[in-house]
Symmetry: C2
Subunit: 413 residues, 2 copies
């Protein structure tokens, strides 16, 4: 992609932003705020989201979950059946002029459970796991934290259906592993799996997947030496208490919640009378689990964790492009030709390249923009590089001069 | 994919459906109706939608359009600026408990125009074309026609921005070609490009892309010998009049509208004061075009055109799977082993296979289901086929016995 053509370029605004992710994603041209808690993804941001969604699809497929797409308009009667029409305080509602009322989906238990009731023919078909990736709506009092908490946001939600608790618990563990894979591939390698409250979903505890960062909204009591972590809201331990697993003094810190999983038991299958006949001839309620990953929130979390004073530092698998080719001294015909030739060659090799082909922008400004956008590899072509190219990783300070062939090998490894 | 595992199987319901697409897509396990005009896509339906969306992305990329993702909640003030808050009769509205009011997007001129105003720096950056693929909401009085007309549906909308009318008209023609490519690849080879009214978008005529079928909601006056076609609402000619282009007597018929394009002129750039400074130093309003394809509607249109009394007949490029492998006599160990071996082999070749591995279902029922689901190639393995396989195209009556290798060549061509 030619940077001169891309819609949404870097900005030098000095406006005050509420959150670092909002500031960097806005200044680097990934997002645009339409209203409080409501964002447009510009081409660079949309590419990041698509990469995250495809990682999730791959990991969901590995655990046998099937992709569907459920509606965002939910008839009122479904939310009345679960007693959530009046009790969920973030619920947006809309009314047809032809009298039907709808909830704007903040979650999908109210549609996936009656769907399963219609389609499940036999207990032999259990377990079943269904997921979809769609918009969600939540009427947050005061959306802040950039794209970490919005009134409209992207989410992957997965629902699993089981004969009994044992089977749910086995699948629950598989989802934990799949989620850790997703976050790991998104560059988030240190995830705290945290006990938390079940909210409006279940009276049992739930588990959150938290990324430690001062930009977070969740307060954690956690152990640095082992996996122990509790959301402070439900914590039985406090800072400096010995860890119940390994005795290390516990720490307190802020985190961003990027995923959560709930053991729903039969809360929703009872509401919708979702039953099956078990091997013993008894009619039983289906046992359910639900599991969410905030997809647009994940973009914000990655930026909170991976940035420096110059800009974003994208992890390789979610970067909008693999390589940022920066052409300097483009007013010299030979250098310009070389840039376009190398750009075409990289494209032919199947490498995703953003090529800064702008001719009316100074070298300094181009390098500053490249750091702000944060693509993992920068490849500079200039008077100095002769027949070679200068390669630098965004996270490192040192660059090296190599041939194009060597650079290609590096990007393809 | 193993058919025994798939969520959403064939049904033998004898219920009365309003539309053929709804009947076949429901019975074959592609969709489930949640409420009037609101549908869930089951795994088979979601696969078709994903294929359509990817065809559209490829064709949009070819004409230089960039993918973004705009919000579905639109602040009221934006719709007031265009005088459409009160005048668009299908507009769903919702109100935050914190006082903001929003439209649920039925279209996106109200967000894309102010977005361009924020980001466009210079007339030199024009033309620009942006598209996204999202849900849309329209408060239809009485949704009918299955997934052809819903209260919530999928749509690709493209917006283009130009210095002048000439430039818009050039791009408009490029979009016409891109749209014809999309429809052609979706199997819809006979599209009538039709003059129609501009609705709430523009006072000028618009153009519709119509597929002739009795299931349609649009009345056309058209010529069978040339490209002439008019929506009856705006038609200057009537049935049996000589065609103004080629003198053939005109026909009248029903059609499904699968796409539409509008010359918006400066209707929205004036509302949002979207201007640029032209080469002559004058400030001018940006000239805009908008272009839509109903993605879920397209699924319905394809089914209306491609079905017979037995079921759906998917065009190859949008079929949920390329090959329906039907295993008969699976109670015989050798045949069962062969089925699973061949299934794995086809998967390894990168061929998308739906394998009917059910053991408790009769051969007759499996063949009936295969016709209903409508995957283009059926591949039967049974006692009769010995080491070979029986291949049949869904649209043909004759089958032939070939080796697996010959079948693979056929699927890969």
């Amino acid at each position: 992609m030619l940077y001169s053509k891309i819609f949404g370029k870097t900005q030098k605004e000095t406006k005050k932003y509420e959150a670092k992710n909002q500031e960097l994603l806005t200044k680097a041209g990934f997002i645009d705020q339409l209203a409080s808690g409501i964002y447009t993804l510009l081409p660079l941001g949309k590419r990041v989201l698509t990469k995250i969604e495809n990682i999730i699809r791959q990991e969901m497929e590995k655990i046998g979950a099937q992709e569907i797409e459920m509606p965002l308009l939910h008839p009122k009667i479904l939310w009345e059946k679960t007693q959530r029409w009046d009790s969920v305080d973030v619920l947006f509602k809309t009314k047809s002029q032809y009298h039907q009322e709808y909830a704007l989906a903040p979650t999908h238990e109210e549609t996936v459970t009656p769907l399963m009731k219609k389609i499940l023919k036999s207990g032999k078909d259990l377990p079943i796991a269904l997921y979809h990736i769609t918009k969600k709506f939540r009427d947050e009092p005061r959306p802040k934290s950039g794209i970490l908490r919005g009134r409209e946001f992207g989410m992957k939600d997965l629902y699993s259906f089981h004969k009994d608790k044992d089977d749910l618990h086995q699948y629950y563990q598989k989802v934990i592993d799949a989620y850790l894979n997703v976050f790991y591939r998104c560059g988030l390698k240190e995830i705290k799996i945290t006990e938390a409250s079940g909210g409006s979903f279940t009276k049992k505890f739930s588990h959150e997947f938290n990324v430690l960062t001062n930009a977070g909204e969740v307060d954690l009591i956690y152990c640095n030496s082992c996996s122990f972590a509790q959301n402070e809201e439900v914590a039985t331990k406090k800072q400096n208490d010995p860890c119940p697993k390994c005795q290390t003094p516990l720490k307190k810190g802020k985190a961003i919640e990027v995923g959560n999983i709930f053991d729903l038991e039969t809360r929703f299958s009872q509401a919708f009378d979702l039953k099956f006949i078990d091997d013993d001839g008894q009619e039983k309620y289906v046992v359910m689990g639900c599991y969410g990953i905030g997809t647009t929130r994940l973009i914000g979390a990655i930026v909170e964790v991976y940035h420096d004073e110059k800009g974003i530092i994208w992890p390789e698998e979610v970067s909008p492009y693999q390589v940022h080719l920066v052409g300097l001294n483009l007013n010299e015909r030979k250098i310009k030709e070389k840039c376009y030739n190398y750009y075409q060659r990289l494209n032919k090799e199947g490498i995703e390249v953003l090529f800064d082909d702008r001719e009316n922008v100074s070298s300094g400004e181009k390098l500053v923009d490249s750091d702000l956008i944060g693509i993992p590899y920068r490849l500079v072509i200039s008077k100095k590089t002769k027949e070679n190219v200068e390669v630098k990783k965004r996270e490192e300070n040192k660059s090296k001069i190599v041939s194009l062939e060597e650079a290609i090998k590096l990007f393809k490894k």
